[in-house]
């Protein structure tokens, strides 16, 4: 082949690659835009007024009404809902990570009677769907006085928190046990020699080493706790106890016409998870794919 011919083939090859790449972008880009557009629309509508929101279709409103956020926070009670969500998510995450770590450590390091069976029973709840279980859960919470019916507020809060901790445990153990398995046992042995008790070894050696896996469990648990709504729907009737998802539904039902305030409330509700997602997306995606594909 002559030099010219070589460069021509190289050129056509490049051109074909380039056209191929362009084709893929033409396919992917519109879909990516539909993923953000509803969010942009929500943000834009949250800055309009009840009058302009239905007539002004501009993305950036002429006069943005930032005071909508203050009104949503105070009058729309989204401040209360937000703080409740924060509280519930925090307690659920601490509960799941703590209890799952303890259990996963026992399953990883001790051979005890029934360990295999108990481990399997715990994990089977991740695979066996019990779609009617919320009926039974409602009956149970009612029996225990944990449904919000004028009783003490912490009873209802516990009725919301405890089942969620329980719900997150199988996934937590499922992620943490293999991780503990991979930590060499020599570290614990030397700590034992130094006079550390079992709990000391767990606390001072194992937990710090397992930090990456604990982080994945905490991340995914907080996402699902923040977005939880079925249990909130069953448990709460007082506005001052509701988390965001339940509060959004309540607001939507009561003020069907307060469109910009609803949108402001939704923006308030998604800011924390979107920020966490943008910072930690690698870990989130890794955790989700590992949870599903390694089962």
């Amino acid at each position: 082949m002559t030099k010219a011919a070589v460069s021509v083939t190289l050129f056509t090859q490049r051109a074909r690659q380039w056209v191929g790449e362009l084709g893929w972008h033409l396919f992917c880009l519109p879909i990516a835009l539909t993923c953000v557009f509803p969010l942009v629309w929500m943000l834009s509508s949250s800055l309009k007024t009840q009058q302009t929101v239905f007539t002004d279709y501009r993305i950036i409103p002429v006069t943005p009404h930032f005071e909508n956020y203050l009104r949503a926070w105070v009058q729309g009670r989204f401040g209360t809902y937000f703080l409740n969500s924060l509280l519930y998510t925090l307690i659920v995450v601490v509960g799941v990570v703590g209890m799952a770590a303890l259990a996963a450590y026992a399953f990883s390091r001790f051979k005890f009677k029934g360990s295999g069976v108990l481990y399997k029973i715990l994990l089977s709840t991740m695979l066996i769907p019990i779609p009617g279980s919320f009926v039974a859960l409602y009956i149970l919470l009612n029996q225990m006085g944990l449904i919000d019916q004028g009783s003490g507020q912490w009873m209802a809060r516990m009725g919301y928190i405890l089942p969620q901790i329980n719900g997150g445990l199988p996934f937590g153990v499922f992620i943490l046990k293999p991780f503990f398995d991979g930590i060499p046992k020599e570290l614990e042995e030397s700590a034992e020699v130094d006079g550390c008790g079992v709990l000391g070894v767990f606390w001072h050696i194992m937990l710090p080493l397992a930090r990456p896996a604990l982080g994945v469990v905490a991340l995914l648990t907080s996402l699902s706790a923040w977005n939880e709504f079925l249990l909130a729907y069953l448990v709460f009737s007082r506005h001052e106890l509701m988390p965001l998802q339940r509060g959004l539904l309540a607001f939507h039902g009561a003020h069907l016409t307060e469109y910009p305030l609803l949108m402001a409330g939704m923006v308030i509700s998604i800011v924390p998870i979107v920020v966490i997602y943008l910072v930690m997306q690698r870990n989130i995606i890794k955790g989700i794919t590992a949870g599903a594909l390694k089962g």
Binding site: A32, T34, F54, I128, Y138, L162, W226, N227, F229
Partner: protein, 292 residues
């Protein structure tokens, strides 16, 4: 190493907190569910009336709306299995080719899956709105004003409109699963096939699909389980309406319980529905065991 002597109670103390919760909130409700399903009970009365299996009989034979709700969830599931997962796979293949901006695409595609069903439902509720929705406004501007309608309130379009929201929320999840699967396929296989003269289509069917099969099975089964149990999106958009056109099994169970206060019946519905889904879960476990 902290070897537990036989009969040592230490390990049990470690698993105790988890298993106390597990016993109270997973095992006992399971018993409550089966037990209550044999009774007629309004959820408040001290006494329950034992009715044997008649709740089950009524679910199976005398509850056409429940079965309608079943088929409607099935309709959304079929759409999700085909369109949503096909889209997810194609997008994953695109990004897997080291497309410029692939990372950005991944970030954007996975944005809807991290949002709550309530938020997604409420956004789309307003997008689809008959009078003020941006969707109708777009159609009008494109000269398709005749097509405009209240998408979620029209019996002919409500179910498909809900299905579209569901797929919008879900495809990014399938995308990351497929992408994770594709990244385990060694590039050398494609190189070798190219040297042997296989074209893109042949490489797709002979390499990508067979090696991705385990992931496809997992994604399909989880799509079925997730879509059949759709609930939050329905509550936030149509609440089962118009009429019964977007009722799904979980909304039916919900209204049996809190709407008509028939707790025993709600439990029976849950169990019948659960056994159907269990069939698919067992299928998943079987396939996964085979593939690993």
């Amino acid at each position: 190493m902290p070897v537990a002597r036989t009969g040592s109670i230490k390990p049990y103390l470690f698993i105790l907190p988890a298993f106390i919760l597990f016993a109270i909130f997973s095992v006992y409700p399971f018993y409550l569910l089966t037990h209550t399903s044999l009774f007629e009970w309004d959820g408040i009365s001290v006494t329950k009336q034992f009715v044997g299996l008649s709740n089950y009989w009524n679910v199976l034979v005398h509850d056409p709306v429940f079965w309608t709700s079943f088929w409607q969830a099935g309709y959304i599931t079929v759409l999700a299995l085909t369109f949503q997962n096909a889209l997810a796979l194609v997008l994953a293949m695109a990004v897997n080719r080291n497309l410029t901006g692939g990372g950005l695409y991944r970030t954007l595609f996975f944005l809807p899956p991290i949002l709550s069903e309530i938020v997604v439902g409420l956004i789309w509720f307003w997008i689809y709105d008959g009078n003020f929705g941006i969707f109708n406004a777009l159609l009008s501007r494109m000269g398709l004003g005749a097509w405009t309608r209240p998408w979620l309130a029209d019996p002919r379009t409500a179910l498909t409109a809900v299905a579209i929201i569901h797929m919008w929320k879900g495809f990014g999840w399938g995308f990351v699963m497929f992408l994770a699967g594709l990244q385990t396929i060694p590039e050398e296989l494609y190189e070798a096939a190219r040297v042997d003269g296989a074209n893109a289509w042949e490489r797709f069917w002979r390499i990508t699909i067979p090696l991705l099969l385990p992931v496809c099975v997992v994604v399909s089964i989880l799509t079925i389980l997730g879509t059949m149990q759709i609930f939050g999106l329905i509550i936030a958009t149509t609440n089962g309406g118009p009429g019964y056109h977007t009722e799904v099994p979980i909304t039916r169970i919900f209204s049996s319980m809190l709407g008509s206060s028939r707790f025993g019946y709600a439990c029976a519905q849950g169990i019948v529905f659960g056994l159907t889904l269990l069939f698919f879960s067992l299928l998943q476990m079987k396939f996964q065991r085979k593939s690993t």
